[in-house]
Amino acid sequence: MGGSASLLPRDALGEYQELTFLSKQEILLAYKRFSELLPKEERENACSRRVPKSHILTLPELRANPFQHRICHVFSTSEAGDDSMSFEDFLDMLSVFSDSATSDIKSHYAFRIFDFDDDGTLDKKDLEQLVNCLTGQGEESRLSSTEMEQLIQNILEESDIDKDGTINLSEFQHVVSRSPDFASSFKIIL
């Protein structure tokens, strides 16, 4: 722990503390875990490196998560579009999933993660993909098409206020604010 603290510059630490919801220990732990994903020769300058997506997905916190690809895609700021993550992207992600993040931030990012086609609304296709992620990969773990229809109808009935067949950000945030389990389930702690 002491070793990694000396590698992460103190003013950067302070800056990160101010910009994210994470505490000092959490940032240091994140730095340690991030540098472990890099090959040895690149660990000196971990702050400016990018870790490819395949390495990020080896983290235990993400490897069993059905939304792993979406998470990498949403938080990655890579211009090459390869979903690789820098240390700041990584911190961003942990900050949103931390205990102290506000419900608004969480629901905002949840919306982006669930929006599989990135069109700014959750339409039927997005909801279908979302449910399939929840029930698992494999033929026998998917819902039948009638069940899926019925489920999506019910979801839209409960959340689509303007009855346009899709859920936009404010409708999503409204529905999620009344959900008792959201805050405790939308959480990743290293």
Partner: protein
């Protein structure tokens, strides 16, 4: 700080006020600092203590690994089992230290202790005769096995059964320890302790249940948008979560479809369904009555036959002794199969189907025990053939009826344990061997057995009810129950890991936990009844025996008066004769 540069010493009024305020703030923050640091260190100490004490929790690692592999539903069964082991152990400590320990102390004369046996001067003599033979002389070796399995013979004279406790008071130095009172109070204590502990455990589950059911937002949006727990790191746990989410969504959708179907039913269909349900309930009542009647007849038969046991060989006598247990176990096994077959015709919602079948099974198991006790009671107070005038019960056949009831409970407990062992050894493991090594299609379709949580829980609740009832008549029974449940934990764990397949239908842990505690509470209340009736009848018998003794004393006095008056007449005759012939 400002005061240091002020050379005049006093400074202005405002400066002084400022100084005072700053001093105040410094003083407050020091106090707050101290408070904060002390509360931090207190929290640290508490968390360290919690960490250490969590190592002392029994089977913490085992249950945690079971939860990771099989889900919270099965884990709740194993924590329930652990709870029963602890409860039985505490009850055993209670009974042992207040009832058996004083006798042991006095037997070895520790602390200068002496005893005073119960005096039988006031009570009808016949009611207090109790001479258990133990095993005198030369006996066959299998007699010991028979005694171990049925609680007779050498076991009957030990402190295991009620009949051993004939001591009235124990004098420890100068303190007087009233043993019968201690026995009674210890009985009330263990019943009250069990009640309080169960209520404490179920309060948590009740609150959760109430919140969940009252919340109409147990809806699809909550299940879909907040359904995935992002903290899951283990692939196995993730697999379980996927399955449980799939199951929950499918169940909810199916329930909605069925509700729609029910709402669309015509009057004719409703009539048909209701009459079918009434008919099936009549069949259920018939099945239950059949079980009760067979238990009654078998108990009466067994009691009659075991009272003249001398002309039976070893196996036959063991069979006769265990006949009630065998019939009860058969009824407990066949009944639920019949109920789960019948409920399909009644066309209820799936959630209600599960609850109704469980209720029927619970009723069957607990009522079987009640019928057994009732038939025992009818035998004990059967005054037709033999006299039971002075004592109120059949004292010729049952000189110590409390030990007899204790023996029946002992037999039930031993048999229950043997059956669980036998089922695991002779049904689970062979099935697993068959499925792994034989590639025949029919066997592969039959597959491994699922771990049925409700059946297993009802099994151990049944065993616990027997233990509660039996502890009054047999104070060391909780020790046997502790050992039994301890061994069952490992048996079930091994059987689960090696011979069972994971359930297709994951159960929600919190609501099932609460339900099982409620059923356990019902078992405890059922146990109150025989213990209460026994204590009440003990009091009644005591007064009857007292009255019997009184009656005899009165008759003796009358005889004495008659004799004395005869003596007086004789003396007066002699005197008049002497006077006539001087």
């Amino acid at each position: 700080m400002r005061g240091q540069t002020d050379t005049t010493g006093m400074g202005t009024d405002e400066e002084r006020k400022g100084d005072f305020q700053q001093a105040d703030i410094k003083y407050l923050s020091r106090w707050k600092k101290w408070k904060r640091s002390s509360s931090k260190s207190l929290k640290k100490i508490l968390s360290e203590a919690k960490g250490v004490s969590s190592y002392l929790v029994l089977w913490r690692h085992d249950i945690h690994s079971i939860e990771g592999r099989f889900g919270t539903g099965i884990q709740s069964y194993f924590s329930f089992l652990r709870f029963l082991v602890l409860l039985n152990f505490i009850i055993f400590i209670l009974m042992f230290s207040f009832v058996t320990l004083p006798i042991i102390i006095s037997n070895y004369g520790i602390f200068n202790s002496t005893i005073a046996k119960i005096s039988s001067k006031n009570i009808e003599y016949n009611c207090t005769i109790y001479e258990p033979s133990g095993n005198k002389g030369l006996v066959y070796f299998y007699t010991y096995l028979q005694d171990l399995l049925s609680g007779t013979g050498i076991l009957e004279v030990t402190s295991l059964f009620y009949g051993y406790y004939t001591i009235d008071t124990v004098w420890i130095s100068i303190m007087r320890y009233n043993l019968p009172l201690a026995y009674l109070l210890a009985t009330f204590a263990y019943l009250a302790l069990s009640l309080l502990w169960i209520i404490k455990r179920s309060v948590g589950g009740f609150k959760q249940n109430l919140v969940h059911d009252a919340d109409p937002f147990q809806s699809y949006c909550n299940k879909v948008f907040a359904g995935w727990d992002f903290c899951i790191t283990d692939p196995n746990a993730a697999q379980l979560k996927h399955r449980s989410l799939q199951y929950e969504l499918q169940m909810d959708l199916e329930e909605e479809r069925l509700k729609q179907k029910i709402a669309d039913r015509t009057i004719k269909e409703k009539l048909r369904i209701y009459s079918l349900r009434i008919f099936i309930n009549i069949i259920v009542i018939a099945v239950l009555s059949g079980c009760f009647y067979s238990i009654y007849r078998v108990t009466v038969f067994s009691q009659e036959k075991s009272n003249d046991i001398s002309n039976l060989n070893f196996q036959a006598s063991l069979l006769v002794q265990y006949l009630p247990s065998i019939v009860i176990t058969l009824a407990n096994f066949i009944g639920p199969q019949i109920f789960s077959f019948l409920i399909k015709f009644e066309d209820y919602l799936p959630a209600f189907e599960i609850i109704l079948t469980l209720m029927r099974c619970v009723f069957l198991r607990l009522a079987n025990i009640a019928v057994l006790l009732f038939s025992l009671w009818s035998q004990i107070s059967d005054c037709a053939a033999d006299k039971c005038e002075p004592c109120g019960y059949n004292y010729k056949l049952y000189p110590c009826w409390e030990s007899d009831v204790g023996q029946e409970m002992y037999k039930l407990m031993i048999f229950d344990f043997i059956i669980i062992l036998a089922f695991t050894l002779f049904m689970d493991f062979p099935r697993k061997l068959l499925v792994t090594h034989c590639s025949c299609k029919a066997i592969q379709w039959w597959g491994l057995q699922e771990f049925s949580i409700s059946d297993s829980v009802l099994e151990i609740i049944y065993g616990q009810t027997i233990c509660w009832i039996g502890t009054f008549f047999s104070p060391l029974l909780p020790a046997i129950a502790t050992v039994k449940y301890f061994i069952i934990f490992y048996i079930k764990k091994i059987s689960l890991i090696h011979t069972r397949k994971p359930a297709d239908k994951p159960i929600r842990a919190s609501s099932s936990n609460f339900f099982f505690l409620v059923v356990l509470l019902i078992g405890l209340i059922l146990a109150f009844i025989p213990v209460g009736v026994s204590i009440a009848s003990l009091v009644m018998f005591y007064f009857m025996a007292l009255a019997g003794a009184h009656k005899r004393v009165v008759e003796q006095l009358r005889e004495q008066l008659v004799l004395e008056s005869r003596d007086k007449m004789f003396l007066i005759r002699k005197i008049t004769e002497a006077q006539r012939h001087p």
